[in-house]
Symmetry: C2
Subunit: 108 residues, 2 copies
């Protein structure tokens, strides 16, 4: 396996992108086991930093992410998942978590 | 400004997406000042964790990122930049940093 670099907590950021709309849906975290489960089951599986447990996306909401492909970046410290997203990726009901626009006025 | 959550090092992950191709190009890190510079100059500006300095993307390579829009995610701990990428985003010459595919065989 390509060498991956995990942070001090043993985690690596994982970006999920919608395979169809190409929207960036969310960023969550994986440890090596979450990545193994993601690759072997085809279901996006993250490590919940708040709940300190594995989190199969959609397990409670039904909003699963079927993994289409997984890539590591050039220095092996970020993962990109391309997924078929069922329903909304965001717990707010938005399709993507990135719905809050920031402008220069926000930092003036 | 929308409240953002920075990590223990005062940093927040920033994903850059190509506005035209919709490819996810890279993930880098920003502190509050890098985000301020990004929003006010329209040039993607990161914090280099290895060099410990601000890093205007393309300043040495010429491969600039002109910022089209900036969004925060629902819990304010990740930034998404939509950019017009000049040349390759990746220092390897690839358009995107995410060119290394991972498969279940990698973790068998």
């Amino acid at each position: 396996m390509r060498e991956l670099t995990y942070n001090a907590e043993g985690l690596i950021p994982a970006i999920a992108q919608d395979a169809e709309t190409r929207e960036v849906l969310m960023l969550a975290w994986m440890d090596a086991e979450a990545l193994r489960r993601t690759l072997t089951t085809g279901k996006a599986t993250y490590w919940s930093r708040s709940r300190k447990e594995y989190w199969v996306k959609g397990e409670t909401s039904g909003h699963h992410q079927r993994v289409v492909s997984v890539a590591a970046d050039c220095d092996g410290d970020t993962i990109l998942l391309t997924v078929e997203q069922t329903g909304a990726a965001c717990h707010t009901g938005n399709h993507t978590c990135f719905f809050t626009e920031l402008t220069a006025g926000d930092v003036a």
